[in-house]
Structure formats: C-alpha cells, structure tokens
C-alpha cells in the first residue's frame, strides 16, 4: 500500500454515497488494489490459496487430519443449545457489568429503600438505598434474604380454582360476578383481609372499592403488627400516632422490653443513630448510657450499658414505678419487684438529669399501658420535640388489628361473609388459635387468596393467585417516617404473578389494569379509576406535589414526550425515594386521665410466655428461605429450629437442660417444644418464637421447628401468663453453631468501661498476651507497595443483627447445607457472628464478634497448602484458588480463627434451575471437595479496579464496599486501603481501641477489632465490668 491516496477522489466518493456508510480507513474508501489484495489475504474466507483444487494426496492428508481432530473435539460433547444474541441491545447494558435499580421492600408495615444489583436482567443482590431515610444504605437480614424468595422453586406458579389451573381473566370474571351479585347489598358480604397496607396506591384502590360498596369491610392483620404500640399511642394521645425517635440526640435511653436496634421498621435507622453515639473517635467516648429492661434477651439488650432481666409481666409495674419517680402523675401504684428497686431510683435519676436528652422506648410486646407510660415519661422529661417526635402512622388506616380480625372471624362464623379476598399473608397459620380461623374460613362461600406460596391459607381457599414478588412488581410503599418509594420491578414476573393492585383492580368497575398504570395514575393525579378519584387518602400531609405544579413546565421546556410528571416519575424511580414525602411532626398531648384509668395488669402467676417473631424466619413467611433457616440466630446460634428459651435459673429449678422436650399448657391449648437455655433470660419466663412448624411452606420449611401458635390466643398475643410446664422426658437435637459461650478467660473480645477508657485509652492493647518480637528470620518483611486492603470491625457498635452474614451469603454464592450437616459442624458461612457472654449467667454481658477471614499477612494457612491453592496477593489478600484446591483441609486445621469452610459434599445446588439466575456471576459456584472462605469480596475490588483503571486513577476510599460492610446498619465494618493514611480504615486502625485478635501468634491479621467500651452506672455496678476479661491478659 505504497501508492499515495488521492484525497480528492476520496471526497467525491464519500459525497456520492447515500445514507450513513461506515468506513474503516482511507484505503478502504479509496478501494485501492493493494487494499483489496490485503483484504483478500487477511481474511481466510477469501484467501485464494484455499480455493486451489485439492489433489488426491492433499485431500487424503486433510481428511486424515480432520478425522483425527474430530476425534479430539469429540472428547467434550458440545451442548445442543441455541445462542440468540440481543436483537436490540438494551441501552446501558454491558454484559458483565451489573446495573443497580432503586426499589423498596414492603415488610411488616413499612417499606425499606433498596438498590438491587441486576446482572443482564436478573436481580442477584440487594443493597440498601443510601438516599432512603430508614435504610441509609444498610439493610436488614430479611431484605438481604428476600432475593432468595424471588427464586424460590416452591413459589406457586399458576392461578388455581379448586386445584384446577385457570387464567387471570377467569379469576377477574369471577370477581366481577361477586361484585355484581353484591351490588344490591352494598357489598355486605365482601371482606378483604390484608396485611398492614402501607402502599398509598393500594390504600386508595381499596378506599375506592369501599366507597362503591359501603357495606364491604377491609381488615388488616399482621401477626406481629404494632398493635400494642398503636393502642398505646391511642391510649396516651387519643389518636394513632407513630413515635419517631431521634436516638442520636439521646444521652440516656431506657428501653422497656424494646428491641429497637434490630427489629421493627425503624430498626436500621435506630441502629445507625445509636452507633453514631456509641462509636468512639480518637480517645473521646461520648456520654451515652443505655438501660435495657427486658424479659427475653434481645440484640438491643446486648448493647445495653446496664441490663435488667425482668419477667415480661413485671415490666409494667417497673414502668409505673419509674414513671412515678420522673413525675408522671398518672403512673399509679408501683409494686415493682424488689430486685428492681435500686434500678428504678438510678434510672429515674439519670433520666431526670438528662431532661430533653433522654428517651424512653417501649417494646412492641408490652401492653398499651406501658407504651402510654413511655409517652408520658418522655413528655414529663421534656424529650418530646427533642429525642422523640410524633407523626401519623405509616399505614394510612391504622386500626386495632387483633380486634378487627376477631370481628371478621365472628362474621365469618355467622355466615354473613360470602366472599373473602385474602391479599397476601397466611392467616390460617398466623391467626390467634382461639379464633379458629381455618374453621371459620370454611363457612365463607367464596374465598380467594393471593400469595407467594400455595400455603396453608391457599389450601383452604377456592381461588389461589400467585403473587408477584416485590422484585417483580410495580407498587409503592411508605417507610416508617412516611417517605414514599416507588417499587419498580427488577424482572418480569417469573411465574406470571399478580400484585395486590391488579387483584383489587379486578374488583373495580373498569376491571383489571396493570399495576404500573395504577401506580402511575395514582401519583400523576389521574386517579386510579378512569374517573377522577377522591384525593388519595393518608391524611393529606404526606402527599407529594404530584399534580403538575404551576410553572414547572415553563421552567424546564422538556421535549414534548416527557411531561413534568414523567420527569418527576423518572427521578423517583432513579432515586428510590419521593422527595418531601416524610411526615411532618404532629403536636399531641398525653391524656393523663386515660393512663390513670387503664387498669394495672394482674400480677403474674406461674410461668410467663412471651411470643416473638422468629429472629430469622419472622412470622413464618420466610420459612422456605434456606438462607434464613440456616442463619444462626444471633443469641442462641440455633439453626433450622425454634426452641423455648428459658433462663438458666428457671431451667435448673425445673431440672431442664437444652434440648429437653417440654409440654406447655394453658387451658386447653398445649404444645410441645424443646427448651434452650438462654443466659440472661428473665426468670419464670419462656420465649416462644413463631414461624416454625409450617406444613405447606415448601421443601425447605416444611416440618422444621415447632408450631407454637396453639398457645397464642387473641387475649394473649404477646404475653401469656400462668403457663404450666411439663417435662416429657424426651429430648430433641437442636443444631447450634456455637456451643461455647465463654471466652475461657482469653482476650478475644476486649472490654473496658468508659471510666477505664478515659484513664487509659489503650487498655485493649495491654491485654495482649505477649508481643511477638524477632520471630522472623528475614531481616526485611514484604512491602506492600500499591493497595493494601484491610478492615476494622467496631465491636462497640455491632448489634449482632445478622445482616452481614446473609449479605455475605447472597454476595458470595455461599451454599446451605441443612440441619444434619450443621449438627456435624459443617455450616458454610464465610462470615460468622461469634457471641460471647461474660459475668453472671443470669444476666451476663453479651458481645458480638463478626468473624470473617482475618486475611493474615503471615497466614498460617498458606504455608501448609501442598498445592499452593491458597496464596498471598501483593495487596495482602489471602486468595483462595478453588480450581487448584485438592481439599487436604490442612489450611483449616492451621487457621487459628477457623474461618475456612470446606465442601465436604456437593453443597451448592447445581440442579435446581430456578436458583441458577440467583447466583452472583462474579463469584465461582464451588464444587465438592474444595475449601472456601471470605475473600474480602475480591470481585468487588476487581470491579472497582477496572473502573479506576479506565478512568486512569486510583481506587477511591469507600469505592469498594464489602458485602458485609454495605449491609451493616451501624457501619461497624470499615474496609479500605491501609496504605492510604487518609482512608477511613487507616483512621479507624489508629484508634487506641484497635487490636489484633490472637496477635501473639504473629499472624499479622489485616482485619482488626475495636474494643468495647461500656458506660455502666457506677451506682448499680460497683465492680468494674471488665474484671473477667482481664483475667487472661497481662502476661
């Protein structure tokens, strides 16, 4: 191609061409003979040599060679699968690069803002939405695990009528007939039973329906709804309000049986706020003291500076006594247990000293009067407006749910209900046992159920409609503070599921409409029915300015296709929150007379039972979620089962050990369940967790655990007194992942008091056994030049909420092994939460220690691997090469932290097709016989590395968040480059509380821990708390 190119002729050529013509080079355009020749030689299909006639010899040679090669290729049989490329590549979609979409998860009466990672159109991982007020980027374990529910192979997949497959159109027609038949009576036979509805659109839809059919009724039932909280606020204020806590402003917190740091719709927000006060920056500890009074040990209680274990039924008396001392006139008689007397004075003194900076929180299980007392105390202490504000509730129609369910069942029994529409939820399983919901259901002429699973309720309904998972749905939801998020689908419904919107719309006059249209119509102000609906319900205060605001269109002359609403809509979808939809505080006053009038609950006799949702599978809705079933519950470390928790003292008195089967009886109701001794559990009280003993949960949940619902009646939804316990003599094997609760005097979790810390900020370092010196033969240690990844875990703020454990499981395709394997000590969690107790077994201090791979610089695992399957990267990562691993397990034996996990069998589910799209494509699905462990989410590091390299820059601090870190509500886990002195992790490692676990082994772990500093009340605890801890140290 030496011939010069004639530019002029090129121009003419290009001008003469029509349309958009692509050209590769100037030579290509000019079509020089050299270029043609080049092309001819370059691309084999044109190569002239190959067209030469094949001689006999040549032919035989070729044939021989191809036969041989054919034989080679036959070694691996190619699958007969058609590969179809995108006909049109979706915009922004780059294969291998995940996209994140904002959505929200509706759960137990509030929404949580999420960002969902989407790989080529399939959601794989859930993260919190940093812009969402109750998430702030964190998630709870349920949100993390909910992605597995999406891909649950046992989800119901077809609409059925009496077991026969039907179409949605048939169902809609059936609904239409019902409405037509009921039109005359105003819908007097129609009842809708839903869970707590916090979707403004759905609420408006049902309101519209009830408007047309005034005799129809809508009942909400949430088995662990906030019925006590709601009734408590009505008792105190005469109105349903939601208390919004500003924990970050509180100096003294008193929790009355409230697990406010981990559970409930504001748990994440509260945990973050609490952590902001608890976290120690530099050598200054903030002044915050947290008193917890509780019956069943909770995660919040484990973070308390001062914890008192009281029977659930005694907490009311305790609250009255404290209230009386802080100046609530209406408190009534004390009668608090003598053990608590010292406490009452001390707590009252502290609360009074911190007027306007204190906070009293009552727990959901406590009766309304305790809530009312808490409100009264906050008011008396001047905390209202400072640490607590009141707003309307997240649900637009707050109600006394147990009461309305009872009324509904009464009507069903009376036969006046002719059509019952159950919008998700499983009331046959969750309804209080005395209502005999299943029997009443049989008396309803026509029953329809919308649900994710063909569960106990679906089995008793004529119609069952598979529900769309929230990741497949268009909807909207309010967070506990009122902020609205639009729920947008991440994937088309896998099994053609329908949302509640669509089902309710089928009852409307206009017939079924897609949820997308309904939600959009609601927020655009077009109304959810073709004719203009009344203003959306919800008190008005929180409805955003959705109707086109004057001037908006003028300001931004957008293209004609994008209306002002579309502009907003896109922003809401993108951000995951609707701005300015949070509730504004309401001014409310405590009506003291009402509290005075409320009778004191009778003194407890015999044994108390407290009902709580299971910490892992909640009320049973996650029973078929294997991640949650196998998740060790933080305080008991039990998996796959529930047990009746009992205090050590009571257990000793009743001659019980963990695993003993007992019969619990109250009246005619009786259950059998194994007991589990829980240090710190209140005496004469048992905690029963609901959610287990499901019969129609699916392949995972069926038959796990024990059904305790029989004891839970509408009269005693939360606390049942006077329970008789009988030991049956049988025992049951419970699978716990941590059998030892003592630290054996070792310096594992290092604890000091605030006083001790202020005197000597480096107390934790002084607990080291022996500083290793001169242990290496090499004069010079390896220098990490580029990035050096490291992590700190602040045990001071970790609440042990388990989000990180599930997040890790979801991110890293960690398999589930089943109860039998857990019993054998083969659980696979890469990150485990170690839980230790110190002190008095009846009321111990509880510590949580998240334990991922420590990524040792001198890793004991690396030198012993015979095939070099675990090696050290130049960034300090202890890499695991699955392909190379032959599975000697020597690395695990030599790991002092025992964080390595071995695939003793083929644990990864390779055969359930519905689970395939769930897997993170960036992480290998491990096979049998290989070792695995935490990688510091190396796939995320590499993802960031690619991005940074493309931008020709360093990876920024905070650009890589490990899965555990991003899920953590308290930001206890900090990860980053320790070579960068300004990174957060470097700053954190400079803390005087920073220490290496088992430093005496000279493993030089990259993961380090921050010691715990607590602030006990010296009046209540004269002896320093760290006494036991120090025993193993100071050598």
């Amino acid at each position: 191609m030496t011939q010069p190119i004639d530019i002029q002729s090129l121009r003419t050529k290009l001008e003469g061409s029509r349309g958009r013509e692509y050209w590769r080079s100037l030579e290509a355009v000019s079509e020089t003979p050299e270029f043609k020749e080049f092309l001819h030689r370059e691309f084999p299909q044109n190569a002239s040599e190959w067209l030469d006639p094949v001689g006999r010899r040549g032919f035989l040679k070729l044939m021989g060679a191809s036969l041989t090669l054919a034989g080679v290729s036959a070694c691996t049989r190619q699958p007969e699968e058609a590969i179809i490329p995108y006909v049109r590549q979706p915009e922004e979609l780059v294969p291998g690069k995940p996209l994140f979409y904002a959505t929200a998860m509706p759960f137990a009466g509030a929404g949580m803002g999420l960002l969902v990672e989407n790989h080529e159109g399939r959601p794989t991982k859930i993260e919190g939405n940093p812009d969402h007020p109750t998430s702030r980027g964190a998630t709870d374990l349920f949100a993390q695990a909910s992605i597995l529910n999406l891909y649950d192979p046992d989800r119901s997949q077809t609409i059925t009528h009496l077991g026969e497959i039907r179409t949605f159109e048939t169902f809609a027609a059936a609904l239409k007939d019902v409405v037509a038949a009921q039109k005359g009576s105003g819908g007097s036979g129609i009842r809708i039973l839903s869970e707590t509805v916090t979707s403004p659109t759905l609420n408006a839809q049902i309101d519209e329906l009830l408007g047309r059919l005034p005799q129809a009724k809508w009942v909400q039932w949430e088995p662990f709804g906030k019925h006590n909280t709601r009734e408590g606020s009505r008792l105190a204020f005469g109105d349903y309000v939601e208390a919004q806590y500003a924990i970050e402003k509180a100096d003294v917190i008193l929790s009355l049986d409230a697990d406010f740091l981990c559970t409930g719709s504001s748990g994440l927000k509260n945990a973050r706020a609490f952590a902001s006060r608890r976290r120690i920056e530099g050598d200054k500890a903030q002044s915050i003291r947290f008193y917890a009074v509780e019956s069943s040990p909770s995660n919040s209680g484990s973070k308390a500076d001062q914890r008192l274990a009281l029977r659930a039924s005694e907490i009311e008396a305790f609250s009255r006594a404290v209230a009386a001392q802080v100046g609530v006139n209406a408190a009534g008689e004390g009668g608090a247990p003598p053990a608590a007397q010292a406490w009452i004075a001390a707590v009252a003194k502290d609360l009074q000293a911190a007027r306007g900076r204190g906070l009293v929180i009552a727990g959901d299980t406590q009766p309304p009067v305790v809530h009312a007392l808490a409100h009264a105390m906050n008011e008396a202490l001047g905390n209202v407006g400072a640490t607590v504000t009141y707003t309307q509730t997240a649900e637009a129609r707050p109600s006394n749910q147990p009461q309305s369910l009872k009324e509904l069942v009464g009507e069903m029994d009376a036969g006046t209900v002719t059509f019952l529409l159950i919008l998700s939820g499983n009331p046959v399983y969750t309804a209080p046992s005395d209502l005999k919901f299943d029997a009443a259901l049989e008396k309803v002429a026509l029953r329809a159920h919308l649900g994710l699973h063909h569960d106990e309720t679906a089995a008793r309904c004529h119609w069952h409609v598979p529900e769309a998972h929230y990741l497949e749905s268009w909807s909207d939801v309010r967070a506990s503070d009122g902020t609205v998020s639009i729920i947008q689908p991440l994937i088309a419904p896998l099994y053609g599921g329908r949302t509640a919107h669509e089902v309710v719309a089928a009852l409307s006059e206009s017939g079924p409409r897609p949820a997308y249209e309904l939600v959009r119509a609601f927020w655009s102000g077009d109304g959810i029915t073709p004719r203009q609906a009344a203003a959306p319900a919800g008190g008005g205060a929180a409805v955003p300015q959705a109707t086109p605001a004057p001037g908006r269109g003028v300001q931004a002359p957008a293209p004609a296709v994008v209306s002002a609403f579309d502009h907003d809509w896109r922003r809401w979808l993108h951000d995951g929150v609707m701005p300015n939809t949070a509730f504004t505080p309401k001014a409310v006053t405590v009506q003291a007379s009402a509290i005075t009038a409320a009778p004191a609950s009778p003194r407890a006799q015999g044994l108390d039972v407290v009902f709580l949702p299971d910490p892992s599978i909640y009320d049973g809705r996650f029973a078929n979620n294997a991640w949650l079933q196998e998740l060790p519950k933080t305080l008991t470390k039990l998996t796959w089962d529930n047990a009746a928790l009992i205090g050590p003292g009571t257990a000793a008195r009743l001659n019980l050990v963990s695993g003993d089967m007992v019969q619990l009886k109250r009246g005619d109701n009786e259950i059998s369940i194994p007991v589990w001794i829980a240090p710190g559990h209140a005496a004469d009280t048992l905690t029963l967790f609901l959610g287990y003993g499901r019969e129609r949960a699916g392949r995972v949940g069926n038959g796990t655990g024990f059904k305790v619902n029989a004891l839970r009646t509408s009269a005693a939804l939360d606390i049942l007194t006077g329970v008789e316990l009988k030991k049956t003599g049988d025992s049951y094997e419970l699978a716990s992942t941590q059998d030892h609760w003592s630290m054996e005097g070792r310096n594992i979790v290092r604890v000091g008091t605030k006083e001790q810390f202020e005197k000597d900020p480096t107390f934790a370092k002084k607990m080291e056994l022996q500083q290793p010196t001169g242990l290496s033969m090499l004069s010079q240690q390896y220098k990490y030049e580029g990035y050096a990844w490291g992590m700190t875990i602040d045990q001071n703020v970790c609440t042990g909420c388990n989000s990180c454990v599930v997040a890790c499981q979801a991110e890293n395709n960690v398999p589930v092994v089943g109860k039998g394997q857990v019993l054998n000590g083969r659980e696979m969690h890469w990150l485990r939460l170690d839980r230790y107790y110190t002190g008095d077994i009846d009321n111990p201090d509880t510590y949580h220690q998240p334990m991922p791979c420590q990524q040792c610089e001198s890793a004991p695992c690396e030198v012993v691997c015979p095939v070099a399957a675990t090696t050290h990267s130049d960034e300090g990562l202890n890499d695991m090469v699955y392909n190379r691993c032959v599975g000697t397990r020597y690395c695990s034996n030599n790991c002092p932290y025992k964080v390595r996990r071995f695939n003793f069998l083929l644990y990864s589910d390779w055969y359930t097709q519905s689970l395939w799209p769930l897997r993170n494509p960036d992480v290998t699905v491990r096979s049998r016989g290989v070792m695995e462990k935490c990688t510091y989410c190396v796939q995320r590091i590499n993802q960031a590395r690619v991005t940074a390299k493309l931008d020709d820059r360093q990876i920024r601090d905070g650009e890589v968040l490990t899965a555990c870190q991003s899920a953590c509500p308290t930001e206890a886990i900090v990860f980053g480059n320790i070579n960068d002195p300004n990174s957060r992790v470097s700053q954190s490692k400079k803390s005087p509380l920073n220490y290496q676990l088992l430093a005496e082994l000279n493993t030089k772990p990259r993961t380090t821990y921050l010691a715990v500093v607590r602030n006990p009340n010296p009046e209540l605890e004269p002896t320093p708390r760290a006494a036991e801890n120090g025993e193993g140290g100071h050598q």
């Binding site: 941590q738 059998d739 030892h740 609760w741 003592s742 630290m743 054996e744 005097g745 070792r746 594992i748 056994l769 394997q821 054998n824 000590g825 083969r826 485990r832 170690d834 839980r835 230790y836 220690q849 334990m851 004991p860 690396e862 030198v863 012993v864 691997c865 015979p866 095939v867 070099a868 190379r884 691993c885 032959v886 599975g887 000697t888 397990r889 020597y890 695990s892 034996n893 030599n894 002092p896 932290y897 025992k898 390595r900 996990r901 071995f902 695939n903 003793f904 069998l905 083929l906 049998r928 016989g929 290989v930 070792m931 676990l997 088992l998 082994l1001 493993t1003 193993g1032 050598q1035």
Partner: protein, 471 residues
Amino acid sequence: MADHQHPQSRMNAQAEKQLLARTPEVIAPGHTFETVTETISHVVMSKRTPLGWFLGFGIAFLLLMILNLTIGNLLMTGIGIWGNNIPVGWAFDIINFVWWIGIGHAGTLISAILLLFRQQWRTSINRFAEAMTLFAVACAAMFPLLHTGRPWLAIYWLFPYPNVMGLWPQFRSPLIWDVFAVSTYGTVSALFWFTGLVPDMATLRDRAKSRAAQTIYGMLSLGWRGSAKHWQRYETAYLLLAGISTPLVLSVHSVVSFDFAVSVLPGWHATIFPPYFVAGAIYSGFAMVMTLAIPLRKFYGLEDFITMKHLENMAKVMLATGLIVAYGYTMEAFFAWYSANTYEEFMIRNRMTGPYAYMYWCLILCNVIAPNTLWIGRLRRSVPYLFFISFVVSTGMWLERFVIIVVSLHRDFLPSSWGMYGGTRYDWSAFIGTIGLFITLIFLFVRFLPSISIFEMRTILPGAEVEEEHP
C-alpha cells in the same frame, strides 16, 4: 544348586561363632540346611492349602471388599460421608495414616538397622517384618490420597511435575515433604524386600514341581545361580540398601510428625514431635510384628525359627520405645505448664479432663502402664501375654494419634468454633477395610512367598561354620 550357602559367613566366621555361642536360641537345635529349607519352603510349595488359610483369607478378603465399597462411596459422594468437620478437619483419615506408617517402621528397623548392627536374631523375622512394612505403607498411603476432597487431582498435583503453567507444589508444606518421605520409603522398602527375596526365589524355583511355579519363581529370581560373584554383588547391594533404609527409619516418621509440628495449633506445635513419633512408630511396629509372628509360628510350626528369644527381644524393644513414648507424654504436659501459654495449658487440661478425657486415659493405660509390665521376665516370656500386649500397644498407638489429632483440633484458639467429632460408619469401615487389605496381603504373602528368609536362616546354622572350616 540346591543349597545357596551364605558366603558372608566366611568373612567373619569367628565373630559369628562367638555370637552364636552367646545366642543359641535364635534357632532350635538339630536343624540342618535341608530341614531349614524344607520347613520354610514347604509352606509355599505344599500343594494343599490348609483350611485355616482359606478361613482367615476369606475373612480378610471380606474386609477388603468393605474397603472397596467405602472407597467407591467416598469417590462418588465425597468425604462428607466421614465425620470430619470444621474444626476437626482431620480425623480417622490421618489417624489411620500415621498409625499405619508407624507400624511399617519396625520392618525397616529390623531389616536395616539390626542388619548393620549384626543382630543375628533378626534373620528369622526380617522377611515378614519387611513384608509387613510394605503392606502397612500401602495401607497408609491410601489415606493421604483418599482424605483429600478431590483425590483425582491430588494424585498428581502433589508431585512436582513440569508443566506449561510453571506451577509447582508448595514446597513449604509438610504435606509435600510427606509425599517425598512416604514415596521414598515405599520404594526403598519394596526394593529391599525384593532384593532379599531373590536367592529364596531361586530356591523355590529349583524346588517347584509345577511348570507355572517354575516359570513365575524363575522370573522373580532374576536368573540367580548362586555363584560367588552373585553372592558378592548381592551382599554389596543388600548392605547398600540397608544403608539407604537406615536414615529412613528416622526420617519418615519425623517428616510425618512435621505435619503437626509445623502448624500453629496447640497440641501439634511441639519440638518434641520427631523423636517422640519415631519411638512411637517403632513401638507400634514391633507390636504388629508380634501380632503377626505369634500366630504364624504357631500355625506353620515355625517355633523352631521364631523362638522365645525373638519374642523376648521384641518385648524388650517395645518396653524401651514405650518408655520413650511415655517420656514424650510427660514432656508435653511439662511444656504446657512451663511455657505458661494459655492455649497450651488449656490443651493439656482439655486432654485430661475434656470431653475426650477417656481417650487420653485409655491411651495412658495402653501406652504407659501396659508396657511397663514387660519389666517382669515371666510376662515377657509368656506367649499369650505378649500376644495380648501387642494388641494393647496397637490400640494405644491408635488412641495416641486420636488424642493428638482430634482432641487438639476440636478445641483450639477461639471457643466460638469449638466442636466435637464422632466417627461415622464409613470412618470405621475405611479403617477396618485397610486392616482387611493388610491381612489379605499378609495371607497371600505367607502362602506364595517364603515368610522367613531361607538363605539367611541357613547362615545362622552351626553347619554354616562347619562348612566354612572344612572347605
């Protein structure tokens, strides 16, 4: 060529004469070259296989089939069929490995070290002690391979073979040292054993009646004619091999002990391990030789060749090595106390009082108390008692490995990860199965090969000297 008298006797006749004078019991009086050859080769040459052989072989073969089933299931399902878990990553698999490899040690010690020390009494037991070594190594070698998660890869990735990826094994890992130690040991033991067999193969070839036996033994005898040249070269080769084997007695089990000593685990990380393991190995090895020799001499009427002298000597070796082992236990406890290390202290306390304390105290009974009864001469010369004590010692040594491996692993640094271990039926079937393999091989060996070295026995006959003096 009927008799291949040993020319070595010429070289140090005087010394041997004195030796024999001192130790006449190594062979019963009245034997001639012919009777020795006849008695030993009769076992092999006899047309009639005793019914007892079939019975014993049948049982052993059944156990071997159990091993096959276990291995089949293991390869199909995964090592999860065993009870291993986290924290107890190694259990029966490695216990059995160390136990078997330890047993092998007596063979090498008898063949090589006692040969170099000119312990004449070794001649009647060295052949089957060597066979025992070889079979024990075969049983042992199975475990490091099968205990891996992916044995189909472990079988060659552990060897340093050149490959395009430039990927080598991790030479710092004691498991790699194991590969070399055990494979060297296996090779040298096999060579040593076979070299020792060559002159006897020739004897059998010459005495064989059937064509097949003549052919097979003929091939195995490698054309041995018994010429002086043969003998001279043979002697040199045999001594060389003995020289090579000698360090192996010390090195193999030292390397095996490094699997533990190199780690950071309390209970493993101890400098005393190499000598203590070697002593333990010889201890258990002699127990196994005893276990085999006593029935062998009884059923095949070889009491004349394996005399009380042999049994008593072996008992003395067991007593001596048993005391070394006991010293090892004492030192472990002493170190734990003297180091003032929390983890070490806990480890010993946990051994003595933890959930597996019964294992520890059984071990002390078997390995410390039981061998001390051998101080008593009457017991040392009681064949039933020796047979019994040999089992006690074998059990004790198995328990020792259990205590070292499982009891150290089950509770280490962080109490959160403590766990328990229990062997499953496949753990037991793998163990019993290898015993089956071992006994099967022993039965085949006794039937088809001379279990006592014919030519070496002849050298200790008084006749060997006579011939020497009247050439």
